[in-house]
Symmetry: C2
Subunit: 393 residues, 2 copies
DNA sequence: CTAAGTTTGTTTAATGAATTTACAAAGTCG
DNA sequence: CGACTTTGTAAATTCATTAAACAAACTTAG
């Protein structure tokens, strides 16, 4: 049954439009909001009144006059609540506490040994409790928890499959919600990263409605934003672009296929190639980055080669999704200076002029924090989408 | 400026919900509509009244009682208006006239020589005029014209690029609208095909919200439906999946890349391979289909090989878009019986269990008519989306 | 054949969110 | 200082939905 229209819906739509505008254009006056949104001054006045009542918006006094009465400036009250973001890695847990503006207030990192599903969940909960404990007092308290995982999940927050953790069908959301009594959102690590880059000032994808985030780790993960929203596919399994074939008779991949992109353009691919050139001891990412930084020609050539392989896959992304922005993240993003040139060269040679015309390719602006911040952002978005705030005030 | 909410919007939403339900569940009573939509009986009554007033809905008398007063059954009046659909090919124009239900009423085919842009547009207009001339009298007359083109277009209906026609920046929509004074929609041939398969009873994709239509012609075109809507990418250039690389150092392609899927899995690829095996005279699609039908092993092997190459690209589609349905269309769809086996074998071997679980792969249900019917459907959808019908009545 | 119960669809009054119009307050500027 | 602007609120109006009541039409049990 489709969502029907009624007065409640109207108010919800308008209130969320007004709140969004205040969030992104603070400080702003009621009169200006009326102009920006197309609503009448009276409507804006009334909605702003309720938002102030609910603690999400504050008046911060008069602004500059433009030839008449001074406007009363409004500010989004980012400290009306806090959210927890978790980046659940294969051997680490990175957690942050942010206010509703996404400003990081507290941080917590720990290793986990992946001994068992229960042990990991215990560690995650411990990490969250730690952060919650340090949260300042606020009107709404902890509004939600977002968790980025190295695997795929469904809408109910079940981890369907996370090969690198060895997880299958783990009801992660439900377990953490019942333990802590706070709304939880689960999403793929790359999806969260995409949201992070799109939503945060420090990210490179603000205002991008069509964005693909490519996370280079031991494999390649991708998060896809279409029309400003995460694209999840028909069963939550979209964007396994790391397993797009770029060499139909290439190396076999653990996914069952062969010649997958990630076999040529991931950390693993880099390390494999490095082993042929360097002493075993120097074959890890840190060391390679250091050597390249010191000007080691052999290592720089490895990164350039990786850049070219990345380029081949990026062209596939362009042809499939026609995004306005591709963001490259993960630890290897640090190798930007050596990869960008070859990558761009391959991309320009192999792609068609049209989709390329309006395309930007950038390396992550948030670095290792894109996933954890994106997770926070998902939690905050869920909070604002819940009717509690939007309508009932 | 985002769309704000007001009473007009509410009515538009509800009216279109009610009309959609009548369109798809005819015959249906007001009481049943109230149940189906979640609106109250009073609201449904009022909206249905206006729809009857506007000629789009008819009362067709009493239905079966279910233990009380007999319901008055409502029927969508498909003949309240007509739409023209055009499939503009490289050397032909296929046109149909359908009623608002998408039932074909008239048909018109012609060859065109592609002498010049103006000549082709002249032929298209001639074809449309011919069909309009044969349209029955109706309340709304010709509500719109949809045109599927072998190239890409923008939202204003400009043909940006159509290599096989040799067109660049042709304002097709504007030219036809100013000539005929009827709303025109332009879209890619494969996009139209996808809509056709999704919207029509005879298509295989009814109710599919995540569908990829693969049109095999001299190249490969694809139309992608996400959340029930055509996906166009950030600049109208999505879904050039024919140019996804499946062999990074493969044959060079006219697109600038090399190893593109369509070099291995299109009509051209088939014909090229056939030339190595058969006398030159027998190398055309019709002949190959005939020979395969006669049991020619060498030709059947060619089709099987094509099926395998198709499979490789389909796996890429699955990993990228995670659709619930892939529809294979174009003339080569006739070779289903020889291609399906090898195609499925490759697909199952190379794809991951998860996205494959809920996936169907089917050959076109509309055959050569998917594009032309999809084009009609786009025109009809535009008509219903226009406020004229939806609100002002 | 009648009385009771059901189902359908309309009517009427109430609700509530946005709009329109008017206006007061607080500025600027010559 | 007075004319003009701009900001924000208030009151009256509009209008689509809902809720409740009801009339009409029908079935079914006895």
């Amino acid at each position: 049954m489709k969502q029907t229209g009624d007065l409640n819906l109207v108010k919800k739509i308008n209130k969320s439009i007004v709140l969004d505008r205040i969030r992104h254009d603070s400080p702003v006056s009621r009169a200006r909001l009326a102009e920006l949104t197309g609503l009448t001054k009276a409507t804006v006045s009334s909605l702003v009144g309720e938002l102030i009542e609910s603690g999400l918006v504050d008046e911060i006094g008069a602004g500059e006059s433009s030839g008449g009465r001074k406007p009363v400036m409004l500010l989004f009250n980012g400290t009306a609540g806090y959210a927890v973001g978790i980046d659940l890695g294969v051997d680490y847990i990175l957690g942050v506490l942010t206010d509703l503006n996404g400003v990081i207030v507290e941080q917590h990192t720990m290793k986990h040994s992946n001994a068992s599903v229960d042990a990991v969940i215990g560690d995650v909960i411990h990490s969250i409790r730690e952060l919650i404990g340090r949260a300042p007092q606020s009107t709404y308290g902890i509004v939600g928890i977002g968790i980025g995982i190295p695997g795929i999940s469904d809408e109910q927050g079940n981890v369907l499959f996370a090969p690198n953790l060895g997880w299958e069908n783990v009801p992660l959301q439900q377990r953490i919600e019942s333990e802590l009594g706070i709304p939880v959102v689960i999403d793929n690590e790359a999806n969260a990263g995409a949201v992070g880059e799109q939503q945060f000032d420090a990210g490179v994808g603000q205002n991008a409605s069509y964005l693909v985030y490519v996370s280079i780790g031991s494999g390649i993960g991708t998060g896809i934003i279409i029309r400003g929203e995460l694209f999840r596919g028909s069963s939550g399994f979209s964007g396994e672009l790391g397993h797009v074939t770029i060499e139909q008779n290439g190396k076999p991949c653990r996914c069952g296929s062969s010649g997958c992109w990630e076999l040529y353009a991931s950390e693993s691919a880099l390390l494999e190639k490095a082993r042929a050139v360097l002493p075993e001891d120097d074959v890890d990412i840190e060391a390679l980055l250091r050597r390249a930084g010191d000007g080691d020609k052999r290592v720089i050539e490895l990164f350039e080669q990786l850049g070219r392989s990345l380029g081949v896959g990026l062209v596939n992304i362009i042809n499939a999704f026609n995004p306005e922005l591709i963001v490259i993240g993960g630890r290897l993003a640090e190798a930007e200076s050596w990869m960008l040139g070859p990558l761009t060269e391959v991309m320009e040679r192999r792609s068609m002029p049209f989709p390329r015309a309006k395309l930007r390719v950038q390396f992550s602006g948030l670095g290792m924090k894109s996933t954890v911040l994106g997770a926070c952002s998902l939690a905050i978005a869920k909070f604002f989408a819940s009717t509690k705030v939007s309508v009932e005030g």
